[in-house]
């Protein structure tokens, strides 16, 4: 295919790149105002979103599609080892990533207009998003890993971009070291797989041919493959913060600037999951050749073994994340731990490796993008209003800031999986999938559900602090917005969403709008998820059939 069509295929990515360059250019020209760079970023992301939607063939914009539908979800020609491949699930994940970037970019526009490094912030966001987009279309292991690097390196810098704050600098340092270590591990693993298969193409890897005739041709036990995949798990687990590869995440989310935390937790984290889809679904599904293991165990095939490993990781992750979140004093660390446990839920989808499970996991990712970035953005907003970092500092916010608190309560309830929120739907679908798979996966569902029940405890504790405790005298807050009874009303209403006019008292229009969008999405898709779920399920079906 000609270069032009290739470039056309990557229209959204190119847009992002252009946007990033434009931001840096504008910055170089001295137009440092956040309104300018911010709006550039937002517009770029929206355009990219538009084209991805078009590629997905959504009705109103389908005519803009750059990728002919015939190229999506089709098998690659035999013997070909494409670097990238378009799957509708991948495109869906691109939309998720773009949405995360969009929320953060929009919300950040209500930061001080003359703030230093705004351009750096937006440029890096766009670059990281570019990397995430590439992850979503990778069909070659090295391509994937490098794309992940394209995400990681800007993230390191994002954490540290203020350059003045010790905490964020320390966070960046930790992030960098652990990240580099896991990069090493992943590439090392990739090299083993290359050794075993002679290629790093994921379609080939998925076929499990090397397992079939043993590593390095000889037959017998494919040590290279097993070791390689183990190393890859260790490397990629760093991204989706599986326990025990999670330790960095808490400190980083805590130390990074709030908006960046939102981006990391809501956005970049998710590429790890899609990487898991790409790398491990293949063996899970196709590596069905049984052989003897050490200690004469077996014959057992590699797929089930991988499933058991992933299941164990999932359960450990969700449990440890929840338990650690129970007693957290700091709001951001609590959210960080909760996002770790959420990663555990998502991993269930990979471990089961059925289309339903994939649907559930993807929906969970989508829900998490909104809930978690939303939550962190609220934290940022609260910080802007003078609320301290500790949970205790939020005392009585429900009376001072009814609408903001309502939105936050809504996000927490959604994280806890309470009904009428998208979190409920995603958990419901995910765990239904686990039970639908039967076998020991039912126990994954039980573990997940009990964990979410446990999580209710700490979310409930935050709600208690916000609503039931009397306001602390300490933080001098601007006059409560909507002091009118009408506004003070819906404090407790789980189904109430902030609306534009109340973005007063130092909240900022952009931030308020973002939070409003998040809340609305959470409720709307919680009540009527069909439009999203239908195509997502189809996409997952195709993805499985493709066997990547």
């Amino acid at each position: 295919m000609s270069l032009v069509t290739t470039l056309l295929d990557f229209l959204p990515e190119i847009l992002l790149l252009a946007g990033a360059l434009l931001v840096f250019l504008v910055d170089a020209l001295g137009l440092r105002r956040i309104e300018v760079v911010g709006s550039i970023a937002v517009v770029t992301i929206l355009l990219a979103l538009l084209f991805v939607f078009a590629d997905l063939g959504f009705a109103p914009v389908a005519f803009l599609a750059a990728i002919p539908p015939g190229q999506i979800d089709v098998f690659p020609p035999a013997g070909s080892t494409p670097l990238y491949w378009f799957t509708s699930l991948g495109l869906f994940f691109q939309t998720f990533f773009l949405l995360a970037a969009f929320l953060v970019a929009l919300a950040s526009m209500s930061r001080p207009s003359r703030e230093r490094g705004a351009a750096v912030f937006y440029g890096l966001i766009l670059l990281a998003t570019l990397g995430m987009m590439l992850v979503a279309v990778a069909s070659d292991l090295i391509f994937l890993l490098i794309a992940i690097e394209v995400v990681s390196i800007p993230s390191y810098l994002l954490v540290a971009y203020t350059r003045r704050d010790t905490r964020s600098m320390e966070a960046a340092m930790k992030f960098f070291i652990v990240g580099a270590l896991s990069t090493v591990l992943s590439f090392f693993g990739a090299s083993f797989l290359y050794g075993a298969y002679g290629t790093t193409n994921l379609f080939v890897l998925a076929s499990g041919s090397a397992i079939a005739n043993g590593a390095a041709g000889g037959g017998g036990f494919p040590l290279l493959v097993v070791i390689g995949y183990s190393l890859l798990i260790a490397g990629l687990a760093f991204k989706i913060t599986l326990v025990p590869f999670h330790a960095w995440a808490v400190d980083v989310y805590d130390g990074a600037p709030d908006d960046v935390s939102a981006f990391l937790a809501g956005g970049t984290k998710k590429i790890g999951l899609f990487a898991f889809f790409l790398v491990f679904l293949g063996p899970v599904l196709f590596a069905k050749v049984a052989f003897q293991w050490f200690g004469g165990i077996g014959p057992v095939s590699f797929g089930p073994v991988l499933q058991v490993l992933l299941s164990i990781l999932a359960v450990v992750t969700m449990s440890v994340g929840n338990v650690l979140a129970l007693m957290q004093k700091s709001m951001k660390r609590m959210l960080a731990y909760s996002s770790i446990s959420q990663a555990g839920y998502m991993l269930i989808g990979v471990a089961i490796g059925t289309a339903p499970a994939l649907t559930g996991a993807s929906l969970q990712v989508f829900a998490h993008v909104f809930m978690k970035s939303g939550a962190f953005l609220v934290v940022a907003a609260a910080a802007g209003l003078g609320v301290g970092p500790l949970i205790a500092d939020w005392r009585g916010l429900g009376q001072k800031r009814p609408w903001l608190s309502a939105a936050f309560a809504l996000m927490l309830l959604s994280l806890a999986g309470m009904p009428l929120t998208v979190g409920f739907v995603s958990k419901f679908v995910l765990f239904s999938a686990a039970i639908e798979a039967q076998g020991y996966f039912v126990w994954l569902a039980v573990a997940g559900l009990l964990n979410s029940a446990l999580s209710v405890f700490y979310y409930g504790r935050v709600l208690k602090v916000i609503y039931f405790d009397s306001p602390a005298a300490a933080p001098a807050v601007p006059a409560p917005e909507g002091a009118s009874p009408a506004a003070s009303g819906a404090a407790a209403g789980p189904d109430h969403t902030p609306t534009a006019p109340l973005a007063l008292g130092g909240l900022g229009y952009a931030r308020a709008a973002t939070i409003a969008i998040v809340a609305i999405v959470i409720v709307v898709l919680g009540i009527y998820p069909g439009p999203l779920l239908q195509p997502l399920a189809a996409a997952a079906q195709h993805f499985i059939r493709l066997g990547l």
Partner: protein, 489 residues
């Protein structure tokens, strides 16, 4: 039925709730209007009700609607609602308690719009549970009830309200997730076409071996904690003691009924095989709950705590009647659920007013209340007598038939609940002797009898108590227009 009454009712409730939240100072009027409309709709539902009966073995529902909600091959979820006699009586209970609560807490000054909105939301959730005929929507409403109750207890509650609220929230949530696993496993192991009641019902016989028994246990745990059954009951006293009066009314009157309803609708109707296997467990737990609840009520000093434990006792009888798996038993169970809903609501209202008037609910430290607050005393006497099963009041027909059914099924085991009836009478009568009679003591200077609106609220409940106590057939007539009427299916 062509007219989608249920959706209309749901819609009106939602609109009313949202309006109440936004209404500010005038929230109480909106709430009242909503409750009245709700009652009217319920009346229409009763008026046009006729039970379609069984269609090739599957119980049908009146006013049923089905709209696809999610259909992705392996997971088909429809918005399916419908009512039959079983749900109708409980819906009636919901309507009555809703308006009674709104009237009782008319004077609520602390965030009135939030208060009334949450009250309506709770009733909305209960209504949803009673009409939902799909696993997801059942569970959705089931959970949706928790959130408003969490806020009601935690924000308007007593001194230890925060702990009680979170305990209630987490405890019941754990139970419901176990229930959810059971329901989903039921659907997926039996390869039901969708999560609808009817398709799950039709698919259930496909379950093999011990699976039904396990599923029933899972479901029963979920429903049982709501009941509540001993030993999973300890959330109840805390929640009741700390909850505001209106909260206690809804908690005892409605939330406890969810368990019973769920057990009938999704338990014994859908998984008869599992139920038959686990029947002995149910009997044991029922007897334990009956005895434990009654004996503990005897030792309570706090009025609300006493009523809470008596609820455990009564719901134990309900569980027993359900477990009997006989037509008479089910009628009795439903009647008793209705009766207990009304009576416990009345008792909690009196307990709340006692607290408002005497600044304490500690029974021994008050005395001779009858001479200073005759109206409160009258209400409390009627409530207590109704609760201990006095004839011509609502509980009597229920308990009488329940125990008769017990004799039919279990013969001399009936002596356990019978003897306990004496204890029940004992603690109520003793409470009245200490609290209402004897020389006055612990009476604050500025003592006033209950206000007129509270009288109205209690009056509604008392009227219902007497009406259905004197003419129980009014209720039974509707109950038997349901699978119960043709039991066993």
């Amino acid at each position: 039925m062509s007219v989608p009454w249920i959706s209309i009712t749901l819609a009106s409730l939602v609109v009313g709730t949202v309006a109440t939240f936004l209404a500010g100072r005038s929230a109480r009027w909106v709430a009242l209007a909503t409750s009245i409309v709700f009652l009217i709709e319920i009346g229409l539902m009763f008026w046009g009700y006729s039970w379609p009966g069984l269609l090739n073995g599957i119980p049908q529902f009146a006013y049923s609607e089905t709209h696809a909600w999610i259909s992705i091959g392996w997971l088909n979820i429809n918005y399916t609602v419908g009512v039959d006699g079983i749900s109708l009586v409980l819906i009636l209970l919901t309507g009555i308690l809703q308006i009674a609560t709104v009237l009782y807490s008319w004077k609520e000054e602390k965030r009135p719009n939030a208060w009334f909105g949450l009250v309506l939301l709770t009733c909305l959730g209960c209504f949803g549970v009673f009409v939902a005929l799909d696993i997801l929507f059942f569970f959705l409403f089931w959970e949706a009830v928790l959130v408003p109750m969490f806020f009601i207890i935690g924000y308007w509650g007593g001194p230890n309200r925060r702990y009680a609220a979170i305990k209630f929230f987490v405890y019941t949530h754990v139970a419901s997730v176990v229930m959810l696993v059971g329901l989903l496993a039921l659907a997926f192991y039996s390869h039901a076409a969708s999560l609808d009641f009817s398709s799950v019902y039709a698919a259930e016989p496909a379950l093999a071996g011990v699976v039904p028994a396990f599923l029933f246990v899972a479901l029963f745990f979920g429903f049982g904690v709501k009941f509540p059954i001993v030993p999973f009951h300890t959330w109840l006293p805390d929640a009741h003691v700390e909850a505001p009066t209106g909260g206690s009314v809804l908690l005892a009157g409605l939330l406890l009924k969810l368990g019973g309803y769920g057990l009938i609708r999704w338990g014994i109707e859908v998984i008869p095989n599992g139920f038959h296997t686990d029947q002995p467990i149910l009997f044991v737990i029922a007897f334990v709950s009956i005895v434990w609840g009654s004996v503990l009520s005897l030792s309570q000093r706090d009025l609300k705590r006493m009523v809470a434990y008596s609820s455990i006792n009564h719901m134990g009888i309900v569980l027993l009647a359900i477990a009997l798996n006989s037509e008479l038993g089910l009628v009795a169970a439903l009647f008793l659920m209705f009766a207990h809903g009304i009576v416990s609501a009345l008792l909690f209202m009196t307990a709340g007013s006692t607290h408002d008037i005497f600044r304490t609910r500690d029974i021994p430290s008050i005395g001779g209340a009858a001479s200073v607050t005759p109206r409160l005393a009258t209400a409390m006497m009627i409530g207590s007598l109704a609760s201990l099963g006095l004839p011509a009041l609502i509980s009597f027909p229920a308990e009488f038939t329940a125990l008769l059914a017990t004799w039919q099924a279990l013969a001399y085991w009936v002596l356990i609940p019978l003897i306990v009836l004496v204890v029940t009478a004992g603690f109520y009568i003793w409470m009245m002797q200490r609290l209402l009679f004897g020389p006055t003591k612990g009476i604050p200077n500025s003592v006033h009898d209950i206000a007129s609106l509270e009288v109205v609220a209690m009056g509604i409940l008392i009227a219902v108590t007497v009406l259905f106590g004197v003419l129980p057939n009014l209720l039974v007539h509707w109950i038997v227009m349901s699978p119960v009427g043709v039991w066993p299916l």
